[in-house]
Amino acid sequence: MLLGFVFLWLGLAPLQQDTVQMDAVEIYGQNLERFSKGMKVSAVDDRDLENYQSRSLGDLLQETTPIFIRQYGAGMLASPSVRGTSAGHTAVFWNGLPINSPSLGQSDLSILPVQAFDQAQVQYGSNGSFLGNETIGGSILLQSKADFDKGFKAGINTSVGSFGLFNLGLTAGYSNEKVSFKTKIYNLEVENDFPFQDLGLPGTPERNQDHAALSQRGLVQDFSWNVKSNHQLRLSYWWNETDREIQPVMGSAGIDTQRDRNHRAVLDYFIFGQSSTLNFKAGGVFDQQEFNSNLNETDQYFLSADWEKTFSEKFTLKTGARYSRAEGRLSTYTESENRFEAYQSLLFNPGQTLSLSANFRELSYSDGSLPFVPSFGLDWVMHQDNRSQLTLKSSLGRGYKIPTLNDRFWDPGGNPDLNPERSNNAELGFLYSREGDIAFKASTTYYHMLVDDWIIWLPQGSFWSPENIRKVRNQGVEFDFGLDGEVGEFHWEFSGAYNWAKVVALEDFGDEAAGSDRQLPYTPQHQANASLRVERGKVFSYFQGFYTGQRSISTSSSQILLGYQLFNFGLGHKGISIGSVSIPLSFQINNLFNTDYQVLYLRAMPGISYQLNTSITL
């Protein structure tokens, strides 16, 4: 494998000289849609990215996608559950770099501020062959965008809002044909002193949250350089730091604090041929988490090379290899691990209407190997005329999760004999779109997934230890639609989604939960969201709502958290012009009807809140 890597590094450098024009996302991203035929992929709408500029990725995904985010309070730990899988079953990538913590095996979406990236995509289902580790339930891909030939640009944006929210962001950039610089700096402060009904106190009085303050700052630096007409270098760096008071569960006193410091850097070098792209990538992810005075640090290093070649209109190949190293200096152990991966992707277009993809990955890590992880998919345009199109998508995929450093090495309890968690995923979907006075698009996906060797930490006398104990069947239907049209001078858009997920343990610890048809805890069977947006000239308004169905709080619990629905409202102007300066202005009301709800048991969430956003762009 290493030889292959060296071969790729040295042997394939001299390529044809012509520049190939490709869409920026396709080049710099993982070419997700191109090579993952038959899988459900959705891009986060740019306007949603704008509306959530002073909020976290967790908030954005909770309110606009069918991903259930387990939120431990306002601004607190937010872990994704895609298609009923656990927090560690979703991989998060930033500019192609996997950024999940190697010790925890997951990302806290509450400390990934939306303002730090330019684009986001969500891929649903297992895709271990193409994306690698931890892509069991799905993957979240975050990207920076590079502009060329735009000259000097600068801006300042601020948000002020309820519960002491104050966000300030500065951006400055310069680009010509050769180079592109962009710098972003942000600082967010939230007191989070929202009123809530304290169910932990006799008489359940309303009181203000007093231990959930948050302060976050960061810097993102992007640099791109067209070294030659067909050579490009890209460098991105992201520093993020979050200090939090940990909001206590109702009934307990808040005393914990947490500080997260994250540095991430990625360097890409591209060599474009007439029908090929060679990419070398090097990256580092450095995480530091201090919980009270307990310090846990992890470093990750990545080195990869891949080559994509289009042999004919019908046939494209991508092949590559990656070396990664994780080092953990945790409060109870110090360990490191090396991983080698090789991957191959084939894209085959036998006709105008049919695309097939196949992906393969081979992986070895310190305690084991996964010799063969395949996936297959197809997109078939079943019907097409000049106004409408119907596409069938179907895929078979596999996902895996290597036991985390904590799973294997935590002292006491770490279990070095754990197997990787594995999943098999099959899905079938239809996409329909129609142009016209009222444009319409809709998609329906059915998926069936089995996750085996699911790792659960169990008490072993005085401490806990992980075991491959659970086997889970996840089945569901995802439906989403979008409509848009014009009425007089108004442009309107209406979109929505509904998800049904049945997630049960076939094998589990204890007799009651397994095979009982009981839904896994904190996994809503029903979820829905809808959004209406109306624009007239530069003025826009939106109204969005989302529903989360009931959840049980443990595998066989009689404690049920009721479903809830929340609504947000926004009104804005895309830019009031004063001379050559444009000033966008928007006003948001979140939780419009002041609904009292808990995402997780006894974790208070804020009621109605207001936010005013403005920016100046030069």
């Binding site: 169910l199 932990g200 106190l201 006799p202 359940t204 569960v249 109702m250 009934g251 307990s252 006193a253 005393i255 009270n292 005075s293 307990n294 006491p412 309890g413 659960i456 169990l458 008490p459 072993q460 006398g461 005085s462 401490f463 230890s465 589990d508 610890f509 204890g510 007799d511 009651e512 939960a513 805890p521 709080i553 443990s554 595998t555 066989s556 619990s557 009689s558 404690q559 048991y601 006894l602």
Partner: protein, 349 residues
């Protein structure tokens, strides 16, 4: 837990009731003042501790009694249930004590705030005393353990804290004194409830866990790696007048008193085999029946002296609901039923 002690108190209380003037109107027994209360500790970080009620006569199990009656969750990790003077004290190790009417389970008071990791409570000299580990330090040690004092037996705010040895567990009122089972530093401590001072600190063998009454004498149950100890306490001067040492290894500290001088002790081999057992011992004769029951996940134990049945709670790895197995006193399995999360103890009326 001091369920057995409470049982004895209840017996004493019953005698008082029986001996009362027969013209006094007798208070009807409340819905929850009969049968068995099952203590479900709940899961760490979730605060879903609750009480289940089992009416054996009607074979009825009522879930989540506290929330059902009071229309709010218990919102804590339920560490201990203590019955004192016809009040039930529900001690949460997440920092509060809720006080309910045993018959109706309606909330009648609480101690909220200024507690850290409460373990148990008792009353002396008209004051409430709460043993508390105190806050964790950076190494998860608890160097600042204490017994908190509250002026009112119906709760209120903590007025003062009496420093104790590390990790005080059970408390036992004897007259105007409070005895403290000082688990980590192997101490029996005596607090004068009037002066609120520790007046004696006695070194004992093992790690003291719980006070129990056997044959109307007060004993302190204490565990060590290979042995357990029953220290008989002279209640006039609080000296240890007798110690029974039994060869019971890996006792967890959970105990239920059985018939006569018998006791049932949970043991656990720990990692990696993780074999749990129940040893039956006789404190008077010193006999030990090792692994009288064997299994895993044993988290709570109780003995119904009326029906002579052993109740053994299994936490099922804290993943979901636990369950309770019932055995006859000859070790015959009778039945099993599902209860709440992490069942950790029982209270028998």
């Amino acid at each position: 837990m001091k369920l057995n002690r409470l049982f004895l108190l209840f017996l004493a209380f019953s005698v008082v009731i029986v001996s009362c003037d027969s013209n006094d109107p007798e208070e009807p027994i409340g819905q929850y003042e009969t049968g068995i209360l099952i203590m479900n500790e709940g899961a760490f970080g979730v605060n879903d501790g609750e009480v289940y009620h089992l009416n054996q006569r009607l074979d009825e199990l009522t879930q989540n009694v506290f929330e059902t009656v009071n229309a709010r969750p218990y919102a804590g990790l339920l560490e201990d249930i203590v019955w004192i003077d016809d009040r039930l004290y529900l001690v949460a190790n997440t920092g509060k004590v809720e006080i309910v009417d045993p018959g109706t389970f309606e909330s009648i008071g609480a101690v909220i705030g200024d507690l850290d990791l409460p373990r148990s409570t008792d009353i002396a000299a008209g004051k409430m005393f709460i043993s508390d580990y105190g806050p964790f330090d950076a190494n998860f040690a608890t160097p600042d353990s204490y017994v908190a004092v509250i002026n009112n037996v119906l709760g209120g705010t903590v007025r003062s804290k009496i420093p104790t040895s590390r990790k005080p567990e059970d408390l036992q009122a004897v007259g105007d004194f409070i005895l403290v089972a000082g688990a980590e530093e192997s101490k029996l401590e005596v607090i004068d409830a009037l002066s609120e001072q520790v007046t004696q600190s006695i070194d004992v063998l093992g790690n003291p866990r719980e006070f129990v009454f056997v044959n109307q004498a007060l004993w302190l149950y204490s565990t060590a790696a290979d042995e357990v100890y029953f220290h008989q306490i002279n209640t006039s001067n609080f000296s240890i007048q007798n110690t029974v040492t039994l060869p019971v290894a890996s006792a967890t500290g959970r105990i239920a008193l059985g018939n006569g001088t018998e006791a049932y002790l949970i043991t656990s081999s720990g990692f990696p085999d993780y074999i749990d057992g129940v040893d039956r011992v006789d404190i008077a004769s010193g006999t030990v029946d090792t692994d009288w029951i064997e299994g895993s996940g044993f988290y709570g134990i109780g003995f119904d002296r009326v029906n002579r049945e052993l109740y053994l709670a299994n936490a099922n790895g804290f993943q979901g609901n636990g369950d309770v197995s019932v055995y006859s006193d000859s070790g015959q399995f009778i039945e099993e039923f599902e209860v709440g999360r992490a069942p950790s103890g029982f209270f028998f009326y």
